[in-house]
Symmetry: C2
Subunit: 440 residues, 2 copies
């Protein structure tokens, strides 16, 4: 036999069971987006290179997949590439369709993205993102709703998470306060690693990145902040009170906390929100709130992240449009649910009943039953081949079909089927009406 | 301002209203696939070039999009390409995963495909296919189920269609009977055009393609067949009785008709199935039944098509696996539903109620209501910005949100909202419980 075919490295096939689980993830997220009044859009897999290039930093540019028409000469520079994320295509969409859009525009988008990253465990070259954004309003209700959406999504998944929140303006205020406005990127990149590499190493990196000993010293109270979110906000407010930008950031976060607490209508155990002044996230387009979600019981890194951007559409020539959004990482959520064994037992794509028939006459008879069950939206199969009942049962077993209706001569005479519960092994003869009743 | 951004030619953005309609199409088709016990798989957008090349004829090879890593030199031949259809990736999947698959394998797949076709009205370079296949059984129950699925899908859409059916073995039998086995492709290509170009032109083309006058003469009774499906089958059975292959094809189709009639459980007006001996379809891998569906009330060509293939996986080294499948064309179905004005009024992504608030206090108050409504799965928005009520109402109007809850000082005092029905203009004060009751 020829060599077994394969797929490009870093890509995946999804089997029926994997798809059922992925659909559970997508549907759960989508359901929550919907109750918050978001509407879906889709953009093409390919964008022009001018839309993509220069949006993800030098590193990102190198990870773009370029597309060539078969007809094009290999030496021509491809004009198209596969989308790298959903954010840049969304910004492009908003600018391109701004005349048709009703602002504030509440959109969600669930589509694959492609990156020519070196494939490794848990990192793929094709993966789905689930993005939700409100664009065209600078109201902090946007931040509130994203916090609520995160809370609701993970409640539905049964995953305990912590939402880390910060504000880019606070980071700017810190840089300003220690007299290092020009070093804000260096500061955020370094302190973002506090969790991973510890305080001493962060300080070392800050010095290497050109901060003075005195500036690093001034940063220490900020790296040291402890206590409740309120305590931290109050302390950082004091530290940054000379910086209008920093003060604005503290006010914004305080307002988000106030809105969140104000909206709570039940006494269920509070959702875990943590003010994390070291949270920066790599992307440079954030200008206000920054979010990151981590699972409490599984070590896997960020499973959701996002923030406020005041000028995302500016790259396409439409300035002054503020927005806020987050992205759920379906693959990591999949891994968390797998580790927690938290997928629902029953899949949407599960056949409920298989008709197993002794012969052709019986199969003809089964087909009329199947038609009726399907008319009641009951997922039904009739074993197609005339073969041993044992083989038909094995098929049902392997596919975890919960019921098999066996039809032989007896059953045809009495107008019934012998229904076998594949879990308990129990058998009972049932009429057509009784069977429909049982399976509905 | 900079030049408005754009997308590659032949590709499309889908707006919220278009997505809602597309989702209606996908969900309807998927629901029917499910009640027939099919399970979803997905394959990567990119396949290796060796998987794709040579599977779609010379013309098809030219229409493949090739993918380059950004790091690759432009002169290197790309090793990957975007999938051209779902059939070849499915065959590849079956061969690659044959050890894990439970045969007969009933799978569906709803994903985009890409072709570097010259863009024109109604022809896109990225479009979705919805494929359903049973592989690993040569039972004619497969054909039956596909016929039933077509019937059910279009019944749900409210589109009147005709299912054209033929059998490749009959076409082979015809070629055999007139002594032109080697000319079967020429014959099928020519007679497939009967509807479009008429009998005289078909005959002309047959002569040009190398058939003798006598052979063309022998074909005439076949091109002339009329009457009911039963009449035609009986006539063609007589004409082909010397050809075992042709006779087999007639038997197969007769059995599919018999199974279909046997399974009917109601007296609703019969689904329109038409035996069409000129139906060939371009693809050469069909070996048995061939299907094509056309809308009766809209001129648009084939909206669904497929057939039986006995050796699809043979191209990847796994011989002797018979299958049968069909593909629904989402874009054409979209166009048909648009022309028939047959999309449902209500979309799944539709906000039910917007809270419009006079001030900040009122908005805080609204947020607690919104939280409760969302807890009841009612899609809810709170207008985020503090602006004139008139502007907030205009937003609801533009988004066709059916209800607006207006909150001013009065409402806060009485613990109610003023609910406005945006369709009728009617207003009524409602308590929280009454509002939930009304919207659920």
């Amino acid at each position: 036999m020829a060599q077994k075919p394969s797929i490009p490295k870093g890509t995946r096939d999804f089997s029926p069971i994997e798809m059922a689980r992925r659909n559970y993830i997508f549907n759960t997220i989508r359901d929550v987006f919907r109750i918050y009044g978001f509407q879906q859009i889709e953009t093409p897999a390919m964008e022009t290179m001018s839309t993509l290039m220069g949006k993800y930093g030098e590193e990102g540019d190198k990870l773009l997949f370029r597309i060539q028409n078969s007809g094009e000469k290999a030496t021509e520079a491809p004009e198209k590439g596969l989308r790298y994320d959903l954010t840049v295509p969304f910004a492009r969409y908003v600018v391109q369709h701004r005349e048709e859009i009703q602002f504030p525009f509440r959109r969600y988008q669930i589509q694959p993205v492609w990156r020519a990253d070196r494939p490794q465990k848990g990192r793929y070259r094709e993966f789905y993102q689930c993005d939700v954004d409100i664009i065209g309003s600078d109201s902090l209700l946007g931040e509130l709703e994203l916090v609520q959406i995160v809370e609701e999504v993970y409640k539905r998944f049964g995953i305990n998470v912590t939402l880390h929140i910060n504000n880019r303006k606070i980071l700017a205020g810190i840089a300003e306060t220690i007299g290092a406005e020009d070093k804000i990127i260096d500061i955020t990149v370094a302190i973002d690693k506090l969790d991973k590499i510890g305080r001493e190493n962060v300080n070392k990196e800050l010095l290497e990145r050109g901060l003075s000993e005195q500036q690093v010293e001034q940063l220490q109270p900020i790296l040291n902040l402890e206590g409740s979110n309120e305590d931290k906000l109050s302390a950082i407010g004091d530290l940054l009170k000379q910086s209008p930008t920093g003060t604005k950031g503290v006010e914004e976060l305080s307002e988000v906390f106030r809105l969140y607490n104000n909206s709570r209508t039940d006494n269920t155990s509070a959702f875990n929100i943590e003010l994390d002044l070291c949270l920066a996230r790599g992307l440079n387009y954030y200008t206000g709130a920054i979010f990151e979600v981590k699972a409490n019981d599984v070590e896997i890194g960020s499973i959701t992240g996002g923030g406020r951007y005041d000028n995302l559409t500016g790259i396409f020539g439409l300035a002054g449009v503020s927005g806020v959004g987050i992205s759920f990482g379906a693959d990591r959520i999949y891994d968390v649910l797998t580790q927690l064994n938290a997928f629902p037992q029953q899949s949407q794509d599960q056949t409920q009943i298989l008709f197993a028939c002794f012969g052709e006459k019986e199969r003809d008879y089964a087909l009329t039953w199947a038609k009726q069950l399907r008319g009641q939206d009951i997922p039904t199969e009739v074993y197609p081949d005339l073969t041993k009942i044992k083989k038909q049962m094995a098929y049902a077993d392997a596919k975890r079909i919960p019921y098999v209706a066996i039809i032989g001569e007896n059953e045809m005479q009495t107008g019934q089927v012998m229904l076998k519960n594949m879990l308990t092994g129990e058998q009972q003869p049932l009429t057509r009406e009784a069977l429909i009743q049982k399976l509905k």
